[in-house]
Symmetry: C2
Subunit: 572 residues, 2 copies
């Protein structure tokens, strides 16, 4: 491709709204443009990268015997109702009606769709294992789409599902997938860390996330440097070393706490540890069901554990109006004492608080010497606390550390949920009807691209790994006499199947260099007056600082060799 | 791929609901499965075909300098309002709200999206021409989805758009596209007929459809065998040889017509030609605007001409209730005399009716001796008649013929509508601000596949052209000793890059033959006990009746040659 013909609207300035490097660089290099919140268009340069990443994903899937499908994006409500997810999944689900007022969902994930396809054709154990996948757009109406294609509302996902006669067979495919994923990310030039994770509303058991360490990551990963324990904070455990103080129950009293609401302010006011407080949080689901959650003042609620405690139903912190209605007091004074007509659940930590402090459900008032059972009821206890840096390792009790990460892939052992709910069955070798056991496996394609750029850039622009670069070579003729040999090299390289860009624009060298660095093509060939006089050109890898002078006649072979070397590193 | 591992649910019986051959065969061969009305999943075999057809489309687009993009499927209402299409496009448009109650549309076509992308980056004539495209899912909530993927509600389209400094440049790209389209269909193994067409709600001027002759086609094409005139009935013209009878206006009278409503029944009752009647039709738009359309009794209204007459707004025949409310009479007795508070338009033919007959807007009554101007008003006259077989050719006045066709592609010269409405501008060579002129070009990818199958099948199944076959070769080992040489050949062919299927299932020969014929792989190799004893195998082209015996050692070379020959025919 000649740059003069390429739709390549590069930008000098950092675009508004873009804060992370990959987002800035994808916009500046003309890879993408924003259409609306969380909705992006890929322009030709970005689309080429997207296609290459998809191609690698397909190759790795095909290698392990997965077969590619293309189910519809529009999935009917009935399918989602079979598994209960039509009501369990919240406003993240894009819902739409057709002209006959039939309800559809824009597929956010396709367990139901694939299980429906499979159950209709499945009869014998001989058809198993069956590994199916697609690479296509998914839709999630994120509450806070951000960071460009890192968290969009419409995005390309490689999602695979596997069906097995038994758990041993599932484990085999799970291992194959784990290897295929590592290979996929490696081939894309990404370093990933495998992390135990919670499977959220997927309804699974064992699962593993592929994380990339990054300060812009939206996931917190807990790790123990001492014993090597590593898990997503959403799933991480810690040692629960609660002890009940040997202290007699004192008399319940009401104290004036004028305009004092937060744990910090209360700690200062009462001059005690935050561990003395019973934090009272009101949650609400989409269908307006409410639940009161109690937890010790120094701890936070783990949203995933809460969802699991509520049998998979998603709850959000309730709006202020809801709190006011329920507690009959302004926000900041909620407490469990005297609360009626609402379910109260509590974190295990609450069991151990003696003579605690909590809101009085009265403006500017708190209760002191509050004790479980004597003063308030708890309908059910769970482990709800969010593990954080500083907690004790669940394995070795040493102090836990944490880091931020970007989740680029996720594999799950799903179990029987979908095949049971949807009545998918096969006859085993003995002729008995069984449900297949399932796995599911996802890669965020757009996010993979953005993360590669997060990991591979410098102050001048992107540094694409050879495997997913939109073009492998960029030729810059800098003077008039350079155009002819540049064109010759361009044709030579294309003849070898090397994807080459020729910057044939009538622009100053500085401008060409800036664009070349910005769009990050791995190999740059510069043809200038001076070196041409010696029959040479400058050859430079984008990722390296130095360049070498190479004879024009030797260029194309040298380039071919460089590409081979780069690809070998990525594919090894 | 080994058939034992392939998800290939073939069916012996014709599935319910499937009436046309391609639909039946795509279901029976396990290419697709239905999810819901107008919504289909591609299974692995079908997906491979889909991918090949897309690949050919991309190659042909790239050859003429078009660049591939991927815009979002979700397009915001604001974009559609800029061109007025948010209200002009009827219930065919899938509309959806996000969690913030913002309106979006699932893109049915992407003129607005691409023009928005382009206008933001366009500044100079030097950036033109610009040809952009995508190959991705589109969404149209068809009132009658049918024939499988032939008319789905979610389908893959290759849609391209071009932007030019002037009409001459547009014409050049239009010609390039025409050639690329012919080449694309040829490479897919399809014979297409280029046909003049109306561009419907696209707002264009010149356009051409790529039609495939087929009795199941939903389009009627008018042609004149005498002079070669050919046009879609929607756009076809005919000689308008109306003459006004030299006859005095008679007195308007009311006649009893008990339960006589249709033109046929009225013709019989009044013992006159259908040309004597003023047919009165009530149409209604989505926003409930109504219009009364008058046309001579023997003629039909051309829906596209009507839409154009109504400035691009879509009108449908009104529901019975609407007719009753407007005419104060049951359906079948509408007429223009005395109709108030509604726009009345008429086909030119109505101007020439003297002493006509029409409904009296009274149950069981018609008016006779009705005359335009004396008895009823017409707000505006248009040419609204649908040209049909038997009309006179607009060029040579000979009798027109007609045939049915499937539209697989469509190219348009769009003009300035979108760039003007959306304020897309560039500076021309003299520094003057101008709107680019646009073209747009579409191919129905799924429909292309279905049409190829309509044209290429026999009573046993599909006969895939080599270019888009899911696999090029199918090997059938029929006896135990055949498995080893079959596997050897299979590995040999894959080494040459030949996509081969090996039917390694433990099934009777008859079953393997049936499946092989059904899925239509172009080359079949049969390894049986008898021929193996002579060191030979049977080689057969699916499209031919006879087979040849080939020495095992010569098989792979012979197959390679066969593929080359087949591909050369398609690519020539």
């Amino acid at each position: 491709m000649k740059v003069s013909k390429l739709f390549l609207p590069t930008l000098k300035e950092t675009p508004k709204d873009a804060v992370i490097k990959s987002h800035i660089l994808m916009l500046r290099s003309g890879m993408i443009r924003k259409s609306a919140s969380g909705l992006y268009s890929y322009l030709p340069l970005g689309f080429k990268v997207l296609k290459k990443v998809i191609q690698i994903a397909e190759e790795e899937m095909d290698k392990i015997g997965a077969q590619e499908f293309l189910p519809p994006i529009l999935t009917s409500r009935e399918l989602w109702e079979e598994t209960g997810r039509y009501s369990l999944m919240g406003p993240q689900m894009w819902r739409i009606k057709d002209r006959h007022q039939q309800d559809f969902v824009l597929g956010p994930t396709h367990e139901e769709s694939f299980t429906d396809l499979v159950r209709r054709e499945l009869s014998s154990y001989k058809q198993l294992p069956l590994i199916v996948y697609q690479v296509y757009k998914k839709f999630r109406d994120e509450i806070r789409p951000r960071y460009g294609v890192m968290r969009g509302r419409e995005f390309t996902m490689k999602d695979a599902y596997s069906y097995h006669a038994d758990e041993t067979d599932l484990s085999k495919t799970y291992e194959d997938m784990r290897k295929a994923y590592r290979q996929f990310f490696k081939r894309c030039g990404l370093d990933t860390v495998p992390v135990q994770a919670d499977s959220g509303s997927m309804g699974g058991k064992t699962s593993e996330e592929f994380m990339v360490r990054s300060h812009i990551g939206e996931d917190t990963i807990i790790e123990c440097p001492a014993c090597g324990y590593v898990a997503n904070a959403e799933r991480a455990e810690c040692t629960l070393d609660y002890e009940k103080k040997e202290e007699a129950f004192k008399t319940l009293e009401t104290k004036d706490t004028p305009n004092i609401k937060t744990i910090e302010a209360l700690t200062a006011f009462f001059q005690c540890s935050p561990k003395q407080f019973i934090k009272t949080l009101i949650y609400e689901a989409l269908d307006q069901e409410k639940v009161v959650v109690l937890i010790r003042g120094d701890l936070e609620v783990n949203q995933v554990k809460l969802t699991n405690a509520m049998m998979g139903k998603e709850f959000q912190l309730a709006k202020d109006e809801t709190v006011v209605t329920l507690t009959q007091a302004p926000v900041g004074f909620a407490g469990p004492v005297g609360l009626k007509n609402v379910k109260i659940i509590a974190d295990e930590s609450v069991r151990y608080i003696v003579n605690g402090i909590t809101g009085a459900n009265q403006k500017d008032q708190h209760l002191v010497n509050v004790n479980f059972e004597r003063d308030f009821r708890v309908d059910e206890f769970f482990n709800l606390r969010l593990t954080k840096k500083g907690d004790s390792c669940p394995q070795c009790k040493k102090e836990l550390h944490s880091f931020e990460g970007i989740e680029v892939g996720h594999i799950f052992k799903l179990g029987y949920k979908y095949t049971q709910d949807m009545k998918a069955v096969f006859l085993d070798a003995s002729g008995k009807e069984q449900h297949p056991i399932m796995g599911c496996y996802g890669i965020g394609i757009d996010r993979t691209i953005a993360t590669v750029i997060e990991q591979n850039h410098d102050e001048d622009g992107i540094i694409f790994p050879m495997s997913i670069a939109p073009y492998q070579v960029s030729i810059l003729p800098l003077s008039e006499e350079a155009f002819e040999p540049a064109e010759k090299l361009y044709n030579e390289l294309w003849k070898k199947g090397i994807e080459t860009l020729l910057d044939d624009r009538d622009l100053r060298p500085g401008f060409k260099f800036k664009d070349a660095d910005l769009i990050g093509i791995p190999i740059r060939v510069t043809l200038g007056k001076k070196t041409l006089a010696e029959g040479k050109a400058e050859l430079k890898l984008r990722k390296e600082k130095t360049n070498t002078l190479v004879l024009l006649d030797e260029l194309s072979e040298k380039i071919e060799q460089m590409i081979k070397t780069e690809m070998e590193i990525l594919n090894s």
